[in-house]
Every structure is written in C-alpha cells, then in structure tokens.
C-alpha cells in the first residue's frame, strides 16, 4: 500500500468511527444499527480485558438481536432509566489500523482491526460521569462499505464498582 493509500484508508476508518460516535450521541440508533453486519458482537468485558465471555460475566455481550433490544429500550418510552435519557458526548482518538492479515487470532472475512480510545461524557440529572476506555473494532467490507462485525470496549475501570451504563459506549 502506498503512502497515499494508507492516508486514505486511515481517513476512511476514522470517518466510520467518528460517524458511529455521532450517531450514538445524536441518538440515531437505527442508523447506528445499520453500521453493523448481522453477525456482529458488541462486548464490554468486566473484571479485566481478556476474560472468556462464555464463562465469565460481562457488562455487555450483545449479538445483533440484543443490540436491537437494547436500543429499542432507549427509545421505547418505558425505561425509567431513560427518563430523561442520558446525554452523551463521545471523543474518539488514537486511531490505529492493524491489517487483519497480521493478526492470526482473527478469522473469517475481517478486513481491518482498528484500535482507538474513547472518552464518553455522560450527563443525567444529578450525575456527571466520564467513561474512558480502549476500543477494538473489527471491520469488514460488505457491499462496498465498511461495516462493524465486532466491537470491544475495554473500560479503564471495568474491574471497579460502576454506576449505571444505560447508553452505548
């Protein structure tokens, strides 16, 4: 890949991550869901970064239908924890690209492994919390567009007592 191509690839990936953050903050959840492929996994581990999600508890371990259920809850008007909804601002930074080919642990049609950092400012009545973590996205090329097949958020304090997380990280 030439230098120009690398720059374009970097920009393409960053634009996707920035768009994802914006869709969450603007509560455009249907568009957020559309960034995902059908077999996507959204994972927020607890008690460490490298746990086994099948045998250990996670804060979030969602397949696509659970992601849908989660965001339906946000907009359904019945959730007390969404009255009013928490306001969030996501700051995405430190975006680096690893080619999947260099990562033997990833299989299938993953084309890119993206490392980034996120800081989420959360505000709800009486509460103002900053959430910070490293994020790993696996992206695939589907129908000419990059889409998310895997997102893992490694909260810096995922082994501590945490207040309610009723928004997308």
């Amino acid at each position: 890949m030439s230098g120009i191509e690398e720059l374009l690839e970097q920009q393409r990936v960053e634009q996707l991550l920035f768009l994802e953050a914006r869709l969450i903050d603007e509560r455009r959840f249907a568009e957020w869901e559309a960034l995902w492929v059908e077999d996507g996994i959204y994972w927020v581990p607890a008690n460490g970064d490298d746990t086994d999600p099948r045998s250990q508890v996670s804060l979030i371990y969602d397949n696509r239908s659970r992601m849908h259920n989660r965001v339906e809850r946000y907009v359904g008007g019945k959730a007390i924890s969404q009255q009013p909804p928490p306001r969030t601002v996501h700051l995405v930074s430190n975006v680096t690209i690893e080619l999947a080919a260099s990562d033997g642990t990833v299989d299938g049609d993953v084309s890119l492994v993206i490392h980034s950092t996120v800081q989420v400012a959360e505000s709800r009545p009486g509460v103002r919390v900053d959430w910070v973590g490293r994020v790993i996205h696996h992206l695939v090329e589907r129908e000419g567009a990059l889409r998310i097949i895997f997102k893992k958020v490694l909260l810096v304090d995922n082994d501590q007592e945490l207040t309610t997380i009723d928004f997308l990280l």
Binding site: V57, L59, I80, Q82, L162, T164, I165
Partner: protein, 388 residues
C-alpha cells in the same frame, strides 16, 4: 438532625409502624450508622460461596458491612475468613479482588502471613526483642464464620444467634437453590458485576419481594415477552411469604408452569442476600444514600448445559450496570432517594395485603414480606437486649 439520632429505641418504635415507615429511615445518616452497628456489624451476613475459593490457596476479598475481609482456603482445605488488615500497622494485606497465593505480604513492612493466617515472616524480627510472639500477631479472624451448603456467612459479633438460628425458615431458600443441581451443589465462579447505586440499601432489600413493580419498572426490558399477561397479578396464584427473621420470598411453585424467571427460588435472606432464581445478588451498604449491588449467575453442578444456558443468557442480558433490568431498578431507587428528601408526607406506605399478616402469607403482589423485613429491623434497632 435528628430526632432519630438523638434518641434511642422509642424513636424507632414510632418511625416503624405496622403498615408504614418513616421516610427518614432512608435519608438520615444517624440511622445508617445505627444500622451498621446493630445489623451489619453484629448479625450474620452472607460474604461469599465456598466455590469461589474452591482449591487451597484461592482467595477473594469482600466487605462485611463496611469492613474489608479476606476469604481464603488454606493449605489444609479449610475455608477461613479474616480481617483484610495487617495486625502491625493496619494496611490491607491483599489488594486484589481474587486470586491464588500461599502468602499475603503486607506492602508496608513485609509482614507475611500464610493462607491460614499465621505470621510466618517479618524483616528484622530480632529487633522486636525476646518477648515478641508471632503467634499473637497473625491475621485477625472475623469473630464468627459459618457455612450452610457452601454459602459462607460471617459475623463481627463474638456471640449471639447461631447461623442456623439466624437463617431459620430461609434455609429452605438455600436448599431449593442448591437442589436444582442433581448433586445438590452450586458454583459461583463467573465473577461479580458490581453496580454502584445512589440509593439506600433497604430499597434493594425491600424490592426483592415486591412483585407489584416488575411490569411497570421493567416494562421496557423485552424480557417480559415470555410471561403470561396476568403473571404479575394476584389472580395468577403466586404467594409472597414473610419467613420471619427479616427473610421473605415470592413463591410461584403452586401455579401452573412454576416460576418463569429461572430455576431456583426468589427470596431474600436478611440483611444482604437475594437469591434471584438463577443468580445471587448481594447488597452492600455504602452510605445512607449509596449502595453497591453485586450480582453473579449461579452455575448448578451437574445440570445439563441446555438447562443452564438460558439462565446464563438471561443474566447476561438483564443484570449489571449495563443490563436491561438492573438500570431501571437503580433509577427507581435513585428517584426514591431524591423524593424522600421531601419530609412531607412523613410516611412510606406498606399497606397492601395487610389483612393477611396474621398468616405470614399473602397474595403475590402483597407487601407482606416487606412488612416482615421491617418487623425484624425494628426489633434489631430497638431491642436493648440485643445491644448487650
């Protein structure tokens, strides 16, 4: 403030009525201090499960009331419970949530203890002189520890009720939780989710046996889909039971199909343990307006995977700080904590099904177990004999 803090038993007798309690009991810091002294730092409390320290050398750290403790399994296989505090200068001897070790070494002066609590090494021991005795400087055991079917309980009081006496009728809840397993054994090794909530601990305790709230509070969860539409009504046929000793349960075994929410019982063991069908919850008091809610799924030893898996999946979706059930409970309790800052009206209402109190068993939605909680609470907060 406080009428409550300044006076003793008679004030509590007024504040805790048969079918109402004062909102101050959730908001007054003096009440909270008295609760710690008379409930959490005196009576029995659930601290963990033997399966969490399944092999010699394993340990977990917890709080028992406000105090840090260390649950270990020593090299002989015995489960032990210690103050997580160096007997020398007071630092915690273990900073990790869990792990495996033969020795705990204080970071300050390297006093080192084996997993049976004995002081086995310290630098410059000779400098302490000939009268220094290692044997009197081991880790301090929590005064009383006992177990029932693998559930470990501790008490900071050297005397008082036995664990068997404390559990009373609530032993049946533990039995039923264990007996889902074909070998009568559960395991808690999936780790805990620890949710910090800005509300008084008693709101979580009372909520266990409140079946009036689920279709409202949890209407958004998407987990009500499999439940018959009249499940959370009295007509469906479940009952709620005051088990005495502050313990209580909601029991749907007599209804067709039984409990939908999981395989085990749904009940509260005073003052901090909630057996939630397929999960274990622990309520840690933090301050008058804060608690931590710990949650872990139950694994039943020997239960076929196909019966276990739906329970694990439900836990993953529902609970913890980012579940679809738990945040709505937390938000409700936080709203209560805010609302109760209003001193008028003084009372919180607990009238539902009061006509059944003499039988200790009411309809599914009745507040009978909550009144049982308060009856026991009142005894502990007022009984001079209990003070010694």
């Amino acid at each position: 403030m406080s009428e409550v803090g300044d006076s003793s038993s008679s004030a509590y007798e007024r504040l805790i009525g048969a079918d109402r309690v004062s909102g101050r009991l959730y908001t007054d810091p003096d009440v909270f201090e008295r609760e710690l002294e008379r409930i959490h730092h005196r009576g029995w409390m659930f601290v963990g499960h033997e399966s969490e320290v399944a092999t010699p050398g394993e340990f977990v750290t917890r709080r028992l009331g406000r105090q840090p403790v260390l649950l270990t399994r020593d090299d002989t296989g015995a489960v032990r419970l210690w103050s997580n505090r160096c007997p020398h200068r007071g630092a915690t001897v273990c900073a990790l949530d869990q792990g495996h070790t033969r020795f705990f070494r204080c970071p300050y002066h390297a006093w080192t203890f084996d997993n049976a609590g004995a002081l086995v090494a310290l630098p410059g021991e000779e400098g302490f002189g000939p009268t220094f005795n290692r044997d009197t400087h081991g880790l301090a055991p929590v005064p009383r520890m006992d177990t029932y079917r693998g559930f470990v309980f501790g008490s900071w009081s050297h005397e008082g009720q036995t664990l068997t006496e404390h559990l009373g009728n609530a032993r049946d809840l533990i039995d039923r939780a264990c007996d889902v397993s074909p070998v009568g054994e559960i395991s808690l090794r999936a780790g805990w989710l620890r949710h910090r909530i800005g509300a008084n601990w008693k709101m979580a305790a009372e909520n266990v046996c409140d079946f009036y709230h689920p279709p409202i509070t949890h209407g958004s969860s998407g987990l009500m889909g499999g439940v018959p539409p009249d499940y959370f009504t009295d007509a469906y046929g479940g009952v709620t039971r005051d088990l005495g000793g502050g313990h209580g349960e909601v029991d749907y075994r007599q209804t067709e199909g039984g409990p939908q929410t999981g395989l085990g019982p749904h009940g509260f063991i005073f003052p901090n343990l909630f057996i939630e069908a397929s999960s274990i919850f622990v309520i840690h008091p933090v301050s008058v307006s804060e608690m931590t809610h710990l949650q872990t799924p139950i694994t039943w030893v020997g239960l076929p995977e196909k019966m276990q898996r739906p329970q694990s999946r439900r836990f993953a979706m529902a609970f913890g700080a980012a579940g679809v059930i738990e945040p709505d409970d937390a938000a409700t309790w936080e709203r209560m904590q805010l609302g109760l800052q209003a001193g008028e009206p003084e009372w919180v209402v607990l009238e539902r099904g009061v006509q059944y109190d003499h039988t200790r068993e009411g309809r599914a939605l009745d507040e009978i177990a909550m009144r049982g909680f308060w009856r026991h609470y009142r005894l502990l907060m007022t009984d001079e004999a209990a003070v010694r």
